[in-house]
């Protein structure tokens, strides 16, 4: 399709962009949480990929009439539509990988499903960048599930519901997902959830970890714009960091 986007598509792309903005933030902010210097280097590389992709998504959203300055910095906390898993920093390495690694994978599945002409070539380029993310996150997730199954299981129980809520409700199938029926994506939320859970099963295969039964996410409780069921959001200190509030005097005007 080559016409304008339906309102749900604008929300969908903003949720992906805001989630990637927060992944970029935490990859940089917590780069030294990694166990090895190679992890620190890798996380700085990942943060650049994510921020580059955020810029591209914001440009697309500007093309749909959204204000670029507002998207980049002039927003309040509740106006960020990031996945709930990316509201706060991770307290340790296992939760960092489970929380952010799985959110990174979910965001990829979601943007890879976009088939609108405005994204022709763009999402393919982004997917190429994501291969390095997959090696990094999948490599660590497989290792942590095997080496620290208890901690991994606890981290999964904590984060999986929010990741699945970000992907969307199980009730959205090919006939009912408004993005699919509008021709904006070619895979429904139900199909993406299935693909995500299949991937997760592969990660923990052969370890003592099992994937918990997924929460289908009740459609009536789901906030379509923010892709979560509860409130909450990023903290005031995170917003200051994103805006560069503390360094405003050095900004070139």
């Amino acid at each position: 399709m080559s016409d304008g986007w339906p309102p749900e598509a604008v929300d969908y792309v903003q949720a992906i962009a805001d989630t990637k903005l927060m992944l970029s933030h935490w990859y940089a902010e917590q780069a030294f949480i990694g166990p090895n210097i190679q992890d620190n280097i890798a996380l700085f590389s990942l943060t650049q990929d994510e921020y580059g992709q955020v810029r591209q998504f914001f440009l697309q959203l500007e093309g749909q009439g959204l204000d670029g300055d507002r998207l980049r910095s002039d927003r309040e906390r509740e106006e960020f539509h990031n996945a709930a898993t990316t509201d706060e920093p991770a307290p340790d390495w296992t939760r960092f990988e489970v929380r952010f690694g799985l959110t990174d994978r979910a965001a990829h599945l979601m943007f890879d499903a976009i088939v609108h002409d405005d994204f022709a070539g763009l999402t393919e380029k982004m997917s190429e960048e994501e291969y390095s993310h997959f090696d990094f996150h999948d490599g660590w997730l497989e290792h942590l599930a095997d080496a620290e199954p208890e901690a991994f299981r606890a981290a999964l129980a904590e984060s999986l519901p929010d990741v699945l809520t970000f992907i969307g409700p199980a009730a959205y199938d090919d006939d009912t997902d408004p993005l699919v029926t509008a021709g904006f994506t070619d895979r429904s939320a139900a199909e993406l959830r299935g693909a995500f859970l299949d991937h997760l099963e592969g990660i923990v295969e052969g370890t003592a970890v099992t994937v918990p039964d997924p929460d289908p996410v009740a459609l009536e409780e789901w906030d379509e714009r923010r892709r979560r069921v509860a409130g909450g959001g990023i903290g005031a200190d995170v917003l200051d960091s994103i805006r560069g509030t503390g360094n405003e005097e050095f900004a070139v005007r």
Binding site: N36, Q38, I41, A42, S45, S132, D135, F136, D138, G139, W140, E142, H143, A147
Partner: protein
């Protein structure tokens, strides 16, 4: 596990040993090598597990100690 990193810049160049990475799996080793040794636009980069090196001459342990495999 230790992985030796070998790379060439252009087709036809010698494949050279450029360093090593420590990683628990091939996937992580690939990522570490890619992000750590990104000073060139390598046309080829491959990894070999140090334990898989087949000795022909010399002492690999000594070579490691002498910094020849680092």
């Amino acid at each position: 596990m230790t992985y030796e990193v070998l790379a060439r810049v252009s087709a036809g160049d010698d494949l050279k040993h450029i360093g090593s990475v420590e990683a628990p799996s091939d996937k992580l080793a690939r990522n570490y090598a890619d992000t750590t040794y990104d000073e060139e636009d390598w046309s080829v980069m491959v990894l070999v597990k140090r334990e898989d090196l087949v000795r022909v001459t010399g002492d690999v342990t000594e070579a490691i100690g002498a910094g020849e495999l680092v």
